[in-house]
Amino acid sequence: MVRFENVGLRYGQGPEVLRDVSFHLKPGSLHFLTGASGAGKTSLLRLLFLALRPTRGFISLFDQDVATVPRTALPAIRRQIGVVFQDFRLLDHMTTFENVAMPLRVRRMSRAQYSHDVEELLDWVGLGDRMNALPAVLSGGEQQRAAIARAVVGQPDLLLADEPTGNVDPALAARLMRLFIELNKLGTTILIATHDVQLLDQFDAPRLELGKGDLTIHS
């Protein structure tokens, strides 16, 4: 599903943020991506959701070489990927409902087609009574759940989550993790970046550990 081979990345003329990173994610697997702050977790995820191109190396997504995919094919690939951003990136002029519905709206689905699914999903993540609230009035945890809901609403094959428990208390963190595990059981391939060691210890999943740009794999 995802394959990195000797991937290197640098920003501009800066030092290499990622060096010779190689790994493989099998369909339906769940992995953690760990490493200290600044180790390059977010950068690696950005490569995965096609917001960045690697400086060198080979990346394949859904069995397609990312380097040779034409621009016009990118939307179709991105629709198979759900992303929970570290900073959420909710659009602040839109309600929770509208933010979460966005991936369906860009698929040109009509409101009648998607509103039921979106409402159901919002109920599921516990935002059923916050549907008409703007992000500015949501708590950190609520924004986090809205961001997760937006990432999964399109039923992606690959879910990337960047520090999804970074802004919530341990109890909610555990609940969100169970949500990811639930989705993984439904067949979604999941990669969760986190530097929260305590959280990692609660779950038994293979880890990709980034340290100073190098990746080591612990099963």
């Binding site: 917001a51 990118l74 939307p75 839109m94 309600t95 039921h116 999903l121 094959d157």
Partner: protein
């Protein structure tokens, strides 16, 4: 890839009916304020107003040229110069007789000597000189435009039979006026083209700045899998509205301007600028309603320019993103 029931609802075990009443509204993906602000709307309206004035002027000029170049003028003048040894009065009567028997002539009106003197008074003053001066005598002739006489033949006959007579069809004046109007028309078209290009430049600039100030939205749209065309539609709908609005307000302001000028110039002497403006709405040179309808071209063209320019600019910008 795992085979799984992708099309099934995300969550099982819920069969509540759609509850759309729970959701209040659907916001625009790109908020209005971030794309086309007040300043841009005002600039667009002013450009459309200017275009309207230029178009109105062009309509007037074209109508005037039409009238001036239409084969026959309504009025011609026969001039009888007093030649040595000829009796002017007799020659005038002769000319009058010829004119009256020519078919296609509605009226023949010979100006008396005192009429002629009156015409010359502003230049010569009230002197008693007039009797001594060889003042040419004028005969005003109205022509039936439906069945006009053969003016060339008439001219030849007058010159042959009446001493000192010439037929002045005002053609030379008309030719000069038409040439001048042609130059004005060229200027009018140039102004319209300049306004169009300026508008295009403004829209390109505004589109770029809208894309820049909304780049966080564009980025999110991209990352959730929006196609370029979807993003373009979100931005360009604002430019569609901008063109439509600016165009309509500009055109209405233009129409009001022409109507007001028309009312103000009602009392000015015929043949002047006033008459030309009157002709716009009173339809002296055609149907006024048609002229006002032509002004509706402005919102139409403004909308097209705004929409197409914005679309191209957006696609160009998106093409450079990942």
């Amino acid at each position: 890839m795992m085979a799984r029931a992708r099309k099934k609802p995300l969550l099982e075990g819920s069969d509540t009916p759609p509850t759309s009443t729970r959701v209040r509204r659907t916001a625009q993906i790109m908020p209005d304020s971030g794309v086309t602000g007040h300043t841009l709307t005002i600039v667009m309206t002013i450009m459309c107003y200017l275009a309207c004035l230029a178009l109105g002027a062009l309509i007037l000029i074209n109508n005037a040229i039409d009238t001036w170049t239409s084969d026959i003028s309504r009025q011609v003048t026969v001039q009888v110069r007093p030649l040595r040894g000829a009796d002017v009065e007799a020659e005038v009567l002769k000319a009058q007789a010829i004119l009256e028997e020519t078919p296609g002539i509605l009226s023949v009106d010979a100006l008396s000597l005192s009429d002629a003197a009156e015409l010359l008074e502003p230049w010569l003053g009230e002197t008693g000189l007039l009797e001594e001066l060889p003042i040419p005598r004028l005969i005003e002739v109205s022509i039936d435009r439906g069945a006009p006489p053969d003016l060339d033949a008439l001219s030849a006959r007058l010159e042959a039979e009446v001493l000192g007579a010439t037929l002045d069809t005002h053609r030379r004046w008309q030719d000069q006026l038409v040439r001048m109007a042609g130059t004005l028309r060229l200027i009018g078209y140039s102004v319209l083209i300049l306004i169009s290009f300026t508008t295009i430049a403004i829209i390109v600039y505004a589109t770029r700045s809208a894309m820049f100030s909304n780049r966080h939205i564009v980025e999110v749209l991209h990352l959730v899998g929006a196609e370029d065309s979807f993003i373009a539609v979100q931005v360009q709908r604002h430019f569609l509205r901008l063109g439509l609005r600016g165009g309509l307000i500009g055109a209405i302001a233009g129409a009001i301007t022409f109507t007001v000028l028309n009312v103000l110039s009602e009392s000015t002497p015929a043949g002047g600028v006033g008459q030309a403006i009157n002709s716009f709405s009173s339809g002296a040179y055609g149907f006024s309603i048609v002229n006002y309808l032509l002004l509706l071209l402005i919102p139409l063209v403004a909308t097209l320019i705004s929409l197409i320019t914005a679309r191209l600019a957006i696609m160009h910008i998106l093409h450079d993103t990942l």
